[in-house]
Symmetry: C2
Subunit: 334 residues, 2 copies
């Protein structure tokens, strides 16, 4: 049986390290061929090795001196002391090592800093992007860049399109993957200078199946599989979706719990509300990937619980098994 | 009693002209001092003057030769034939006429073309923006630009901040209006070049109460009242919110109607679902304003029904009564 090795940064995220260790336990029970390297400080080893003894016994322990706080400025990540952190160690571990990947729920900026400095970008790619899958009406949609690059060139967007398309096809080999560019209208002449330049490049690119523009209201109901955008707009879309989603579900909760009568009826509808919650829950697709660096680094959502973290591990395992990294490398070099 | 004159383009929008005429009837019953000028073709006069006879009797009729279709390219709006449309007439009507305003549910690009060409921008403003209010947890939030300018300078964003702040204070005179800049992080160094330049300008501007950056997930839960952004990002945020909102409410509906049992329980919760719907319904704030042109032009949402269109009229009436245009002019010239 092949061993797939996954490095886990036990820190970062609202419920870490408990959620990370729970997630790893769930994933291990479903995938006995996975092997973990757990990165944390001595103090946490002492605190958690009893409660998760089976996981600790089956895993390697890599001790770090400290860990990265969620509010660390990315520019501080590369300072000497921070390079001794669990996140730094976990990402450095996969350098020149295609058989291992790293997952962290921690500080995205710091993860990107370690990934680009330790792993470097792959040949022909000048800027990595953050890509993730989202629930949508017809099928999951891959959206990139989600915020790694606040300023992009048309060439960057072309790279993102090729990498995103490769990534989607690795995850869903039976789909003929369609790629679209996020814009503020669907007519040819719409959008800013970057969009117009990128549109010209994408139209003439044979490695992707380019469909033209898509508007942001279509992300949740589109026939396209990959949506490409610069990191500024991508992050705006991602965070707007998070905010609106929370606002709507909070408003629903408030209305349904405003009287005893409605509380009781809502309780009787509990299963239906769970179906609903599941159908819109982005944690089912937990795991943003840093695409374009020379290694697989996956960012779990900061508020992931054990179940969501296990999904990020399953996703990482899929990337390992399908040899995603080498497929991307070969597609961008062709 | 003062007469407030509102020009209505009867065309454009999914349910026009019925929704426009219904909205006007509702608004007139609540505000007897409002006077409408109805803009449409002879054919529609014949078709609707019977059903809405009371409204037609109390209003002026301005006959147009044609009307603008929702999918007309904005660049075509200024062609000779299209200048004979109801929208063109309705906007031309308020030129040099501060006592009248215009409302249309039609093609936004065409509306913007007529507004800038017929009315021109106000002194010291090089680019108009589209501003609208949105439901948010603590209070309504004014968001601009929603898509008039896909490329902006820092000076444009400063203009938007001053105009947005004036607009909010006219609508809510008791609020000490706080202004923020949309960004992809809250730290000082985050964002692209435009954001950094704009941040420096806004920080030093005495006419506004600037609070720094706000992230897109905070739009629905912020202590700020005005959120400034370029038209590309603003449109992405607006349309993402629309798409996610539809996706979530559709998913909820699907889950709750999947069995007879859940259908019955949901029916018993009808009032609560209506409260919920009302609390998140953007149509309660129907009416995007073209801010920065020499006249008040209001865009109703394309899918507005009579109730929502009446809200746009109420909003227009508030702009007229509070002399919004002259207040903006005086604030941008000071």
């Amino acid at each position: 049986m092949n061993k797939y090795v996954i490095n886990l940064d036990l820190h970062g995220g609202d419920f870490a390290p408990g959620s990370v260790l729970e997630g790893a336990t769930i994933a291990l029970s479903k995938n006995p061929s996975v092997h973990f390297k757990l990165h944390s400080t001595k103090e946490f080893q002492q605190q958690y090795s009893g409660k998760f003894s089976s996981l600790f016994q089956k895993s390697d322990w890599v001790q770090s001196e400290n860990y990265i706080s969620p509010d660390l400025k990315p520019s501080e990540a590369l300072k000497k002391d921070n390079r001794k952190s669990s996140m730094s160690n976990a990402i450095a571990e996969i350098k020149n090592n295609d058989n291992e990947i790293t997952i962290s729920a921690g500080n995205t900026g710091a993860m990107m800093a370690y990934s680009t400095v330790y792993l470097r970008t792959i040949e022909n790619i000048s800027r990595p992007a953050i890509a993730s899958l989202f629930p949508s009406k017809n099928h999951p949609v891959c959206f990139l860049d989600l915020g790694a690059n606040s300023e992009c060139s048309a060439e960057n967007l072309l790279d993102f399109a090729i990498m995103g398309s490769t990534y989607y096809q690795v995850l869903y080999p039976d789909v003929e993957c369609k790629v679209a560019l996020l814009n503020i209208g669907s007519e040819e002449m719409k959008g800013n200078h970057l969009i117009q330049q990128s549109h010209d490049l994408l139209k003439n690119e044979k490695r992707i199946n380019y469909q033209g523009f898509v508007e942001a209201n279509e992300i949740t109901d589109t026939s396209n599989h990959v949506i490409v955008t610069d990191g500024f707009s991508g992050n705006i879309a991602l965070k707007t979706a998070e905010g609106v989603s929370k606002f709507i579900t909070d408003s629903l909760k408030k209305s349904l719990t405003s009287s005893l009568y409605s509380k009781i009826l809502s309780f009787l509808l509990k299963n239906k509300f769970q179906d609903f919650k599941k159908s819109i829950d982005p944690r089912n697709f937990n795991g943003g990937i840093f695409i374009g660096v020379n290694g697989i680094v996956i960012k779990s959502h900061g508020n992931a619980d054990g179940h969501a973290f296990a999904n990020a591990i399953e996703f990482g395992l899929k990337c390992l098994k399908s040899d995603l990294l080498n497929k991307i490398k070969s597609n961008v070099s062709s």
